[in-house]
């Protein structure tokens, strides 16, 4: 097990610097908006002016994690993003397709997926391992697997997180392709400090993460994962899953209900986060926050089936007093 020593999220919910937020969440409504802090408190004004939403959210969350974990330099920075820096990508597409002659380069520079991790390293002067995973809905889980590998190698502290940003064209794409969405498209960033050793700052433990891409039998995979962790379904105090697609969500609901998890312990986190590829990072923060509020909770499973082809499983556990 590794230890989560800080967690910070900027989302459509009052998550930022607000321990205990999980008690006061409401289902996202059509008019809900991203709740942004005063970014000037975290980011140099000159840099801030050029930063897109995804960069602002990420750098602010990253810096908050350093503060809360009382760690000035992590050994590594690992980021997951499903769609990357969409705002700058679309902006540069528009720029070079409409402007003749000299093109302003800023949006191209900031369009690469690793701008997020790169800007974090720049803003804190970090020279460690700097990685960006982008496997659509499993991007965050892949970032976690890499981070836990680093901790099992020679790292003591890894800053890991995920971010995705909403841009307007996503709504048009969704409508045109008739993608059946169960909620509102949104933005969000969640960052965490993972540490090798337990400390006074430790909030929760992370025991195992697995991704199964192009999954065939979801129920068998969940069962195998839990068995490998020596956990029975009935030991799960909470299962977090994205209630996205009726078919896949139904399989997951069926599985846990048939395996002694009471229905009121199975929570659809998508209703709180809205929809973006890396919502499982929000779910992890939600799990940590719940553990902090209720000492009866021991084991929480994040069961990410946001894309029915891909399954992500993350086991979060409380720390013994």
């Amino acid at each position: 097990m590794f230890y989560i020593s800080a967690a910070s999220s900027i989302t459509h919910q009052p998550t930022f610097k607000n321990a205990g937020f999980s008690a006061s969440l409401h289902e996202l409504t059509e008019d809900s908006e991203l709740i942004s802090p005063n970014y000037k408190d975290y980011i140099d004004a000159a840099l801030l002016r050029r930063m897109s939403k995804i960069l602002r959210m990420s750098v602010a969350c990253a810096k908050t994690c350093l503060e809360e974990a009382e760690i000035s330099q992590p050994d590594s920075i690992v980021v997951g993003t499903g769609l990357g820096c969409l705002q700058d990508t679309e902006k540069f597409l528009g720029t070079f397709l409409t402007i003749e002659g000299l093109l302003p380069p800023t949006s191209f520079i900031q369009s690469t997926h690793n701008t997020i991790a790169g800007q974090i390293s720049l803003s804190i002067g970090n020279h460690g391992y700097n990685m960006t995973h982008t496997q659509n809905t499993l991007s965050f889980e892949h970032a976690l697997i890499d981070s836990m590998l680093l901790l099992s190698e020679d790292n003591d502290h890894v800053l890991v997180g995920a971010a995705d940003e909403y841009i307007e064209i996503l709504d048009k794409i969704q409508q045109d392709l008739h993608l059946p969405l169960s909620g509102k498209l949104s933005s969000g960033a969640s960052f965490f400090m993972l540490s090798k050793e337990r400390s006074a700052n430790s909030l929760a433990g992370i025991s195992a993460v697995e991704t199964i891409g192009l999954v065939e039998d979801i129920q068998t995979e969940i069962q195998r994962f839990l068995t490998e962790q020596n956990i029975r379904s009935s030991d799960l105090d909470m299962v977090l899953f994205p209630g996205f697609e009726l078919g896949t969500s139904g399989i997951i609901l069926d599985y846990f209900i048939n395996n002694e998890v009471e229905i009121d312990r199975i929570v659809d986190y998508l209703q709180f986060s809205g929809i973006y590829p890396t919502t499982s990072a929000f779910a992890m923060h939600y799990a940590i926050d719940r553990l902090g509020q209720d000492e009866n909770l021991k084991n929480i499973l994040v069961c990410n089936c946001l894309n029915s082809k891909n399954l992500g499983l993350t086991l979060i556990q409380s720390l013994e007093a």
Binding site: L97, P105, I124, H127, N136, D176, T211, I212
Partner: protein
Amino acid sequence: MSVRITGIGVVSAIGLSVKENLLSLKTGKSGIGPVQYLDEKRGLLVGEVKASNQELLEYLEIKNKNISRTSQLGLAAARQALGTTGMDASIKTGIISATSVGGMDRSEDFYVDYLSGDHPDYNLLRSHDSGNTTERIAAELGISGYINTLSTACSSGVNAIMLGARLLLNGKLDRVLVGGTDALTKFTINGFRSLMIYDDQWCRPFDESRTGLNLGEGAGFLLLENEKSIALSGNKTLCYVNGWANAADAYHQTASSPDGKGATLAIQKAISLSGIDVKNISYINAHGTGTKNNDLSESVALKNVFGDQIPPFSSTKPFTGHTLAAAGAIESVFSILAITNQLIYPNLNFQNPIEGTGLVPVTSLLTNKPVKAVLSNSFGFGGNNSSIVFSSDN
């Protein structure tokens, strides 16, 4: 640290197979020329893979034709690396691909029609996300389970190899295809133009007169296997990946630091992890893009690590063009071929050393030097610096 490499595959401007690429490297034949396949300004110098999308679809026998060129190039190289290796339920098999553009080749076509309101085909966007690029390759190869994509700009390909090696050593996987793929796009061509580092002439890495890069496209893949996997596959070991490192320069979003800090750290750590003495590096396949900034910074880093005993080095980008996320993977294949064929490749288009560093790369094919250990560098935007060491010994 060492992990077996049992398969390699490459598709680039200098060939659709390992054999073709090797032949071009030996004969000094560059694949960079005036653009033929992409709808771009006439005369623009690019390193295109010499096949249209339609030709690739037929060659690869792909059924679902809603696929990016990036996936197609990746699949071509990954199939070569996998060879006749069959899937086995007892062998945990994964794939890690790297890409910077993902399905941008199709998204930019969509966006032209979208801007003009001319019935844009939204289906083109189904292949946009980078993860899809890899999923399509995995699906064609019958791989499920650990399927991952890295995107760290021009260092991505090396990072995929590094992550695969770590997952194998950690017992998470028994067998993993690792590499990178990127198609040429208008997005990246215009991007590097906007940065004023796209050379209208042939790129000239490490030359005093260098003014920028030529973009290329392609893919490179390696098959890494542990003992258990080899016992079943029967694959022969080509050579080993012995050391790797990634370090952040933390200097500037695009430019490399003048003191080569991130690059120096990456090279030092990779060699240190390999356990190979600095003196025993036989050849360095440099990042050498041909931009003023990279080549200077990389030269300084080489001096920082090797002092005045810098091993023979060259950039193979004048052959292939800069293939972005595929570069590290393609150049890793070239590094492996350097070991298995005892070759050191020429740095084409070089005439005069950079004032101030005075470093002179290898300018003609060397066949008379033993090549046991090779260092390959890949440095990207965001100060993302990666180095990797291959050798004939474990």
